[in-house]
């Protein structure tokens, strides 16, 4: 197990290097003087421009600029936002809690609803219940999340007045965004759980367990589910990344604070240091989460460790 963990940890390093290189060099593709990414719209003289160029290392070779970019990023320095006139890392730090809260709540929704519907559907395949749950799952993968959010707003805020429409603080402002964001992931988890559980239920050890007199419910929860959930665990890691990226849209729908809205504001404002910092940050988090999921996967399924 120890060597497996070490191997996986080491494998993450080139990916992180690749991500940082991709983010750094692709933003060099933006047309225009890189200096304007520092000065913004301010008009400056030639001498001032030369001094800034020197100060920010814009005269250095590209690979030197990249290395110093990585060096600074490791120390938590992601540059300064043009719009907010303060360090990118401070902006991220200020917006992060709201997004983490939303993503975590959405994950809870996705797991409970997704597993629940998937198990229900698999227990009685091709029944009315199966048809109904799979229709809900189909809606979950087909309906645009921002529209689902707007419909919830229309019903629960505007028509019924039960929940506040916008804002970030408090549990009642988390319900609709989390439900909206979790719905799509729930649909994917439900479909996978159903097909995986159906497959496991056809295995011979399930027949054996039933033959020795165990109740169906016991067989499903004790024997079948443990094995059926292995593929579900992998998808959960991928879904975490999708939830994080999906938060971009949901935060806009509900006017919530968060990393997602920060990114949209940055793109619309052509605030490239901020765009670069947020994308690098979110992608790194995604890599680390998937690493953790891989490790937990090995913990659940011993075949992975020894493969």
């Amino acid at each position: 197990m120890g060597t497996y963990i070490l191997k996986r940890l080491l494998a993450a390093i080139p990916i992180l290097i690749g991500i940082s290189a991709l983010v750094f060099f692709s933003l060099k593709l933006v047309p225009g003087d890189p200096l304007s990414a520092i000065t913004g719209d301010a008009v400056i003289g030639k001498e001032e421009a030369d001094r800034l160029r020197e100060q920010y290392g814009l005269n250095d070779a590209l690979h030197v600029q990249y290395l110093s970019f990585v060096g600074r990023a490791i120390q938590g320095d992601l540059g300064r936002s043009l719009q907010f006139k303060r360090p990118v890392i401070d902006e991220i730090r200020a917006q992060l809690p709201a997004t983490l809260q939303l993503t975590a709540a959405a994950m809870v929704v996705a797991l409970t609803v997704g597993l629940g519907l998937g198990i229900l559907a698999a227990i009685r395949p091709h029944s009315l219940l199966d048809g109904l749950t799979m229709s809900i799952a189909m809606a979950g993968v087909s309906f645009p999340s921002f529209w689902v959010g707007l419909m919830l707003l229309l019903i629960f805020s505007l028509a019924l007045g039960w929940l506040p429409a916008t804002g970030t603080e408090g549990f009642e402002r988390l319900i609709m965004p989390a439900a909206t964001l979790g719905f799509g992931a729930a649909a994917i988890i439900a479909r996978l759980t159903r097909s995986s559980l159906l497959e496991v239920l056809q295995q011979q050890y399930i027949v054996t367990a039933r033959a020795k007199g165990l109740s169906f419910v016991k067989v499903v929860f004790r024997h079948a589910l443990r094995n059926a959930l292995i593929p579900v665990v992998t998808i959960v890691g991928l879904q975490f990344g999708n939830l994080l990226a999906g938060a971009v849209v949901i935060e806009t729908v509900f006017s919530r604070q968060g990393i997602g809205r920060l990114l949209v504001t940055a793109i619309l404002g052509r605030d490239f240091p901020l765009v670069q910092g947020v994308i690098l940050f979110v992608a790194s988090v995604y890599v680390i989460v998937n690493l953790l999921v891989d490790l937990s996967y090995a913990l659940i399924d011993p075949r992975i460790r020894y493969a």
Partner: protein, 301 residues
Amino acid sequence: MRERAAALPMPRTGVDSALAANPARALLRRFMRNRSAFAGSVLFGLIVLLALVGTRATPYDPVQMDIPNRLAEPGLAHLLGSDHYGRDIFSRLLAGAHLSLLIGLISVSLAVSSGLLLGLPAGYFGGWVDMLVMRVMDLMLSFPSVLLALGIVAIAGPSLFNVMLAVGIASVPSYTRLVRASVLGIRGLPYIEAARALGSAPLRIITRHVIPNILAPLIVLATLGTAGAILTGAALSFLGLGAQQPTPEWGAMLSEARNYMRLGWWLTVFPGLAIAITVLSLNQLGDGLRDLLDPYMRNSP
């Protein structure tokens, strides 16, 4: 050589003898019998038809403001109501239909062709080509795809065309991986080996023997991928990064309607419903095609 091969008896699989007799007709019959595929294709066909009509004829001018008739409720004059500028929502939805379809079509065409261009040599030749291509794909996959698309729009600048480009590029890795895996699956099969033994050049083997045999899973992924591309495209327009006002793109319509949603439920209900129905029809079609074409992928999500 061709005549010799044709004279050999067809291998009988025994699974579906009708398939061997007339594969196209047998497939069509199974297609009609598959409820999901049939319903999806009829619905999607209808949307394509409406989109074609919509670019030529709409009940009202989709961008002409008509302030006296603003916020009209759905009724006989305005089928789906009018928006805060008095523009007929039904006309705008019709006029915008082809934009959503184009987002799907262009981005998926880009992704499929890049996927073939990268995945075929990677799977067929292996070695350093494979190594290089797959490392780059792994790198792209280490970003959530929406984030990748957002990053590309950030560089290229907000516009509908750039959204198509971004969504296409962001989905290249999934197509490349599928193509490569499919090629790996058939590379060692006797008929490929036979073609190689007969002295066919790699390009000929790839175009005549490999591509036709990996088409089925690719068609399934492209159908489901079109649905996903339309969703992502609409989301980016909703964020203000795609189609700009007053283009009647469905995501952009929702973005505008969001500010006026207190004034009438029809402003936000119908554009979203249009996206949902379009994506739903493609997902149904894709699920059905998967059952029909690809027995191995059956039951997977």
